[in-house]
């Protein structure tokens, strides 16, 4: 998974760079200002005119890899059919220029209220993408999943993401209040007591495990428009921290798959049960360790449990220690640091199904 930001005029490219974030996406009209971005988005109603004006050459020259077609306002089936015809007609040249096309889920606004459009649901969008590939005789058409658009329509984002499956190439991250497409920061729209409206663990975890070949783009220009200029860097840094965290966990399957080293899990509690449920068959641990001496020598959830000292019997280059306990994460990290042991961490929230 590649993580980054949608370009927006409220923060400078320099500020974005300094935060460690990459500009992965931009709107077509902002292309001259955004510099190089692999993903460019254009509104479905602007598309035809842009194509006539040589947009594909421009995109090709700019090194664009994917053109996302925004479908906000696409309300009638005949409009979708018209879009399909335009895209099929241009498929050969798109293929020649090696530009993939991702169709994005959208919504429509009528009398200041938001409704579903013809391509709002994951299932409908999946069929549309399949038909494009079938009719064009290519495989250049993919999907872009916009979490904010789905949230606006009160869709269960993870289920719609699953309906799109591996068709998805681009994910746009944003949140809103269910009334306006605010393009706001993730994790802040919650139920009371802080439970997020979007289950970000489940959503990103699905891609981490099933479809890691995606661009994950923070489309949060609302945050930068709403916050004072002086706080732009602050929110960039926070989003960069989120991206770093997601990137770390997205590499979990890769870390577990390292068969050149012995996998040792620290923690023989509840998380070990869930680890074994999700990964036990694929990546069984050599053994687990736990500070509870009553468990030493016993099998827990089918895994032999040893004293933490046992880790030191395995040479450093041959061991792959993964902390499997969140409640005492910091304490375990300190303990392992004191033993001179490097360890990774596992978070079940991303991978439980």
């Amino acid at each position: 998974m590649e993580f980054g930001l949608q370009y927006n005029i409220h923060v400078t490219k320099n500020e974005i760079r300094e935060s460690g974030l990459k500009i992965l996406g931009a709107e077509y009209r902002e292309l001259p200002f955004a510099g190089s971005a692999p993903v460019i988005r254009i509104g479905c109603f602007e598309l035809e005119a842009a194509l006539l004006e040589g947009a594909l050459d421009e995109l090709h020259m700019s090194g664009v890899k994917y053109l996302v077609i925004e479908t906000i306002g696409l309300r009638e089936a005949f409009e979708a059919e018209r879009l399909k015809r335009i895209l099929v007609k241009h498929a050969p040249i798109l293929q020649e220029k090696e530009i993939g096309v991702c169709i994005e889920n959208g919504y429509v606004v009528e009398r200041e209220r938001v409704y579903r459009g013809v391509l709002s649901d994951g299932g409908t969008l999946a069929r549309f993408v399949d038909e494009l590939n079938e009719k064009s005789g290519t495989e250049i058409f993919r999907a872009a999943f916009n979490v904010g658009c789905a949230e606006l329509l009160l869709l269960r984002v993870s289920e719609h993401a699953r309906a799109l499956g591996k068709r998805t190439k681009v994910i746009y991250i944003s949140e809103n209040d269910g009334r306006d497409d605010l393009r706001q920061f993730p994790f802040t729209f919650t139920f009371l007591k802080g439970a997020p409206l979007v289950n970000w663990y489940r959503f990103t975890g699905y891609y981490m495990r099933e479809n890691p070949d995606v661009f994950c783009i923070g489309d949060i220009k609302g945050t930068f428009a709403a916050c004072p200029k002086e706080l732009g860097r602050t929110y960039l840094n926070l989003f960069a921290a989120i991206c770093n965290e997601w990137e770390y966990h997205s590499k979990t399957p890769e870390r577990l798959a390292d068969r050149s080293r012995k996998l040792i899990l620290f923690g023989a509690g509840e998380m070990l049960f869930y680890y074994m449920k999700e990964w036990g068959k694929q990546y069984p641990p050599a053994f687990a360790v736990d500070n509870n001496s009553a468990l030493w020598g016993k099998k827990v959830h089918g895994v032999k449990v040893e004293s933490p000292e046992k880790i030191l019997e395995i040479p450093e280059e041959e061991r792959n220690v993964v902390i499997c306990n969140l409640q005492y994460l910091e304490e375990i990290k300190s303990q392992l640091e004191g033993m001179g042991v490097n360890a990774e961490r596992y978070r079940r929230d991303y991978f439980d199904r």
Binding site: Q184, F187, T190, F191, Y235
Partner: protein, 339 residues
Amino acid sequence: MLKDTGETILTDKRIRIGVQTKGLLEEDLSAEKKNEKRTRVKLTKRPFQMIRNAGFDCVDFNLDAFLKNNDVYAGKVGGFFEKSTQEILAYFEKYKQYLDECGLVCSQMHAPYPVEIEGKKKQNTFMKSEVIPKCFAVAQYLGIPYMVIHSSKLRDGKNGSVEGEIAANLDYYETLIPFIKTHGVKVCLENLYGGSSAGIIEGPCSDPYEALSYIETLNERAGEECFCFCLDSGHLNLVKRKFKDYTAVLGKHIRILHIHDNDGVGDIHQLPFTFRGTKGEGYGVDWDEYIEALRSIDFSGTLSFETYPVMSSFPEELHPAVLRTICETGEYLAQRITE
């Protein structure tokens, strides 16, 4: 005699930045009953250090985390506050040590609430005669100058009325005057809201004139300033009031703050600036207006963030980054308020 400002610790004029302890110092002792299993995480210095490392000067000490409002509504008020005052103070020795070691000051405290629920006489007596007096003792022990005690919401009860609610709250607050004077801890009323999860309606002190009337009446009865006000940004946003209307009426009575944002619908206590869009749409707090309002009263207390749900919504691994964001937001607000 209480000091004029109630500030017993913070002596310079710099605006301080604080954050509430709830959500960070995880000790769920709220329903410590024999047959009730609750997570109880050992208190360590780490969260205090994390708060300090993020740049905060102060904390808002949430004693209401030791007796949660859900438990009060459910009639479970025992547990932690059944301990003697001496036991409770001994319990907080470690807190005091960690706060001191990390250079953090408690700018304010939040008491458990509500102290009165219609028809729960025995529980109300326990809240008033055990819980709140012990809160005063803890506040004094930790050197906390202000304690928020919510006004009870009695207007919507079976026999409720706004007048009856105000009379009952005034009578109760008056009984606190000896505690306030003995412990040197002033009580702050707060702008609240009423209603339920189905919808929000104005509640106690939503109206600034009602709040002013409370404070003036009570201070007159006390013969000195014993009562002040805590302005809650999120609650005010929910009842669609302007900050400047509030500060114009309450003025210098506003001594402490609860800073947080929401979507205009739910009291979700979230990060400022995250509820509006590119064209100003959305129903979040108008922070420019907030700044103007605090500037108009020359506010020089602590900018204290009441954003505990943020700690649940963001992954734990991001807490240091989230706290840094909150603190930098506070620094920005402080700069704007004083410029």
